[in-house]
Structures are given as C-alpha cells and as structure tokens.
C-alpha cells in the first residue's frame, strides 16, 4: 500500500445516486487484487468530513482504476462534485482479496446494490483464470441498475433480480440464486452486498465455500484503530480492513 496523489479522469453518474470514478495509477493497477479497497481523503482541509472514506476498487483497465460509490452522506456528495483533473489523495490498495485459491469449474458471484462494484473486477479475474462464471445481480428498480452490460460481456450468465420486477426475476437476488443453485454445481460462491443479503446467503448453508466482502465503519483502513471489528468463530476477533474485507462467510458473525 502507498499514499498516492492521483488526478480524476472521470467521475460520472451511472444510475440513481450511483457514480463511477476513474483515475490513472500504474502502482494501483499493478498491485490490485479483486476485493481490495482504497481510502480516499476527499478534502485535505475539511474537518467534516474528517476521516478518509473506504471504497472498493471495482475494476482495472490498463493503468486506469475504477471506483464506484453511492451518494450516502456529505463525503460522497463532495466526491461526486469533483471533476476531471482534480486531485485526490488515495491510500491503497488495502485489504485482502477474494481469490485465496484457484478454482477450476463453475463459480457463482452474487451482488446486491452498491456491493456489486467489487464483483466486476472479480468476474474478470475469474474468467481470466478459465472459470465459468454465473453472476447474480440484485437491484431495486430500473433507475438503480448499473454495470449490467459490462457483466454480460464478461460472464457466462448474468442473472438479474429487481425488487419491482422491472427486469429479470421479481424479488431478492438470494431467492434467484437459490432457484439456480439446485440446478448448478458451483465450486465456490462469492458475494458482496447489504448485511441482510449476506445473512440470507449464510443461512443457505451452502455445501461449498462461500466468501463474502463485509463492510464496517473504519477510521484508519490499515488495522490500527480497531474500529471495524468483526466477531469470528471461537472468540476470534477480525478487522474488516486488515483481515478482510473478504471472509469465509461461515467463519464470521453477520449481524
């Protein structure tokens, strides 16, 4: 990891309250592993927001690094107002990666809402490694859909669930996955999304390994502040920033 000053190449709205930001960084592009995140200092002089904000790296193309985010508070609002050429201070790459093993076979990837972002880089890497990839993406409605075409270009099957049924399956992405998992023999499952979604996936008690990217509020992003703790099995304590963000879903408590 390094502290990097980068210049914004593009910062565009791609769905309702959803933005995709990109910049060039040879260092990050070379060292990126799917699942990694960065800590962005949105404004060096600001005292509110004060802390850096963690964002997952979505994917990398050449030297160009893409980060997706949703407008949720003042930090992301200020970030959304930045335009091409503006500098941002980045700490990264941080955290572990989805790919702790190599897989040879069919893989399921499940994403919900803004948790879909880090899965694009993961799907690209899984395909590069010769896997067949089924991706399950859950959105609220048509206005909140993003990156679907990119997933379709990469993955073997892109299955969509929407809350209002405007596209694909009407209902939750976990229900959609559940309906398919009985037909397919997946070697491994990866997921990222809101906690209720992850909890529902954990409750499926899948017969294969399932890795989830978790999110907790964090201050430092490197394992020093101990704010982003996650309870594990056998009284173990993990930290989302330094032990994660990706965990074996059965090894951690999802509350």
């Amino acid at each position: 990891m390094k502290l990097l000053d980068v210049e914004i190449e593009e910062n565009v709205k791609i769905a309702n309250d959803i933005f995709l930001l990109s910049f060039e960084s040879e260092y990050l592009a070379e060292n990126f592993k799917p699942g990694n995140f960065v800590n962005i200092l949105i404004d060096k002089e600001s005292i509110y927001p004060l802390l850096r904000r963690p964002f997952s790296i979505s994917f990398v193309e050449g030297k160009r690094v893409y980060i997706g985010y949703k407008l949720v508070g003042k930090g992301t609002k200020l970030l959304s107002q930045k335009s091409k050429g503006e500098a941002i201070d980045i700490l990264g790459p941080l955290g572990n990666s989805f790919l702790t093993d190599t897989f040879d076979g069919k893989v399921a990837v499940i994403g919900g809402g803004v948790g879909i972002f880090p899965l694009l880089g993961l799907c690209k890497e899984l395909k590069n490694r010769g896997n067949k990839v089924d991706v399950f993406l859950g959105f609220r409605d048509l206005n909140s859909m993003f990156l679907v075409e990119r997933f379709e270009d990469i993955c073997d099957n892109t299955l969509i669930a929407t809350d209002d049924g405007c596209r694909g399956y009407k209902g939750s992405v976990v229900e959609l996955f559940k309906a398919n998992v009985s037909k397919e023999e997946y070697k491994v499952v990866f997921c990222c999304g809101p906690k209720p979604m992850l909890k529902a996936i954990k409750n499926l008690n899948l017969p294969v390994k399932c890795y989830a990217s978790l999110e907790e509020k964090m201050a430092c992003g490197i394992g020093a502040c101990l704010c982003c703790s996650i309870k594990g099995k056998d009284d173990k304590m993990y930290h989302a920033c330094s032990d994660g963000p990706v965990f074996d879903i059965m090894e951690v408590e999802i509350e």
């Binding site: 502290l3 005292i47 927001p49 201050a219 430092c220 490197i222 020093a224 101990l226 704010c227 703790s229």
Partner: protein, 300 residues
C-alpha cells in the same frame, strides 16, 4: 534546530508521540512511514488478559471529530511482550506502554511485568469505554492518588498518568497524580460524547456513548493543559485534536512539554513529519532556540 525534549530523565529526540489507540503497536503504520520519526510511540492500551472490546458499531463521525467505543480490544500483556514489543524495539524511538486495569492490583501487576521492558508506562486512568476501571477510577482524585502510588511502588521506569477531561476540575486529578509520585501527566483522553441517528432514533454507537476525539476537542484540551500547568511541576504531555504544527504549538505555549497525535494519524499518516517540520520552522521564525523556551510562554 534541536527538537529534543526530556520527560522524567528520558530524552525524546523530538516532542511528537503517537497517541495510544491510534497507532496499534506500530506495525501497521511501519508499512507507510518510518515510525522512527516519532519521539516516542505510545502503544495501544494493554490489559492483563486479552480483550475483545465492545460490539459494533464502534465508530461514528461527527462535526470536527469522531466518537469511538473500541473498549480496549487488545491481545493481552503476554502477547504484547512476545509478539509486538520485539518489533517495536527495532526502531529508533522510545516505547511507552499504555496500561489499563480493572482493579488497582491489575495496574500494579501490569507495571511489575512491563517496567523493565519499556521506556515509560502510561497509566490509563481515563478510558471512557469500559464499565470498570478506566474513567471510573480516573474521575476520583483519591483513586488516582491510590493507584498512582501503588504503581510507583513497583515501577523502575517513569510513570505517566493519563487524565480524563470528563470532570469538573481536571487540576484536582493532576495534583493527585503528582502528589502520588507520578513522573508526568498526559491529557486529555477523549471527551464523553453521543450522537443519534434521527431517522431510526438509535444511538450511532452501540454502547450509546463513546469518546470524542479530533479538532472538536482541541480548545478544551489546550485549556486543561494551561490550567494543569499552573498547578503541577511535573511535565505535561498534551493531546486532543492536534491536526497540524499550529495546533501543536498551541499546546506548548499552554504548558505542554511534549504532545501526542492521535486522530490525525488515521487521516494523514505523514502528519508526524509535517508537524515536526512545522515546529522547527516556527521556532526558527520566532527566534526560539529550543522547545523548552516555548513551553508555557503564553502572553496574557
């Protein structure tokens, strides 16, 4: 310009110390900066036994600050000695062990174990995020006296007592610590605070209240350093919301011999270097030959 300062006979090559709880055991930041840049590193709070700390959420951001409720998560003193201390000793910086007990006997035991292994011990009588010990002891001058005295009886290294701001008169605690033989005091720990999500009407911290740090508490901290300097003769280590060299200078003028930086480490890991450079340039610009001349140089 020589930035050296002395606390209870221990020479620090510069007055910038990493504050406890914001720097882990140095390992994490060593990947980003040369941690020898610090005059001293104050470790994450250590207890006798491993502690898992408080439930999530432990952190929320408020205007000009953050509220945390980590609850002294740490691996325990044995793991600290075996796994962390040898690493820290590899750097050219002094090591201050921050210790936390839930009884007087635990403070004494931790001091006995650590006194010959570190340069100084910071007795944390001010953690706001545990139910026993911590701030509960630290608010009562009699307890501060009693624990400091007991710890001093077994200590061969200097003892710093870390004070809580969550009292009416912090100088009573400073006097109690000095009377009991403390070699220095450090202040302030975080300010007890609370924030509420108005949509859910839930507190933003699981433990309901936590400790506020960051720029929001700096004026409170400067005032308390100033008040304590008038009442005690032992060195004061000042902290609370120091974000840059100007903030640090304020603490020296108010009476601090050294400073600790905490929250800023999360935001700018290079802050230590920038603050040191800034102090040096300020001293030169103002014609001071040492930090000592700046301490308590307030012009009222």
């Amino acid at each position: 310009m020589n930035l050296e300062v002395e606390i209870a006979g221990i020479k620090l090559k510069n007055p910038v110390i990493a504050a406890s709880g914001t720097f882990g055991f140095g390992r994490e930041y060593s990947k980003l900066i040369d941690i020898s840049e610090f005059g001293a590193i104050c470790t994450k709070g250590i207890t006798l036994k491993k502690r898992n700390g408080n439930p999530q959420p432990r952190l929320c951001e408020v205007y000009a600050g953050i509220i945390n409720s980590v609850g002294l998560e740490n691996p325990g003193v044995e793991a600290f000695i075996n796994d962390e201390l040898p690493f820290l000793k590899g750097f050219d910086t002094k090591i201050i062990a921050n210790i936390n007990g839930f009884t007087k006997e635990e403070f004494v035991e931790l001091t006995r174990i650590l006194t010959s292994l570190v340069d100084m011990i910071e007795v944390n009588l001010s953690c706001p995020n545990v139910k026993e010990g911590g701030m509960v002891f630290g608010k009562d001058p009699k307890k501060v006296y009693e624990i400091t005295k007991s710890v001093k009886n077994v200590a061969s290294c200097p003892i710093i007592v870390k004070l809580t701001p969550n009292v009416t008169d912090i100088t009573q605690l400073a006097i109690a610590a000095e009377d009991a033989g403390a070699d220095a005091i450090s202040l302030i720990n975080t300010v007890s605070a609370m924030a509420i999500d108005i949509e859910t009407r839930k507190p933003l911290i699981k433990m309901v209240t936590g400790g506020l740090s960051g720029p929001a508490i700096k004026p409170i901290a400067v005032r308390m350093v100033y008040e304590c300097f008038k009442k005690v003769r032992i060195p004061i280590i000042g902290m609370g919301g120091i974000m840059n060299y100007k903030d640090a200078i304020e603490f020296f003028i108010a009476g601090a011999t050294a400073i600790q930086i905490g929250t800023v480490n999360f935001i700018n890991p290079k802050a230590v270097c920038e603050i040191k450079e800034g102090i040096e340039a300020y001293l030169e610009r103002k014609g001071f030959s040492s930090i000592k001349e700046l301490v308590s140089s307030i012009n009222i």
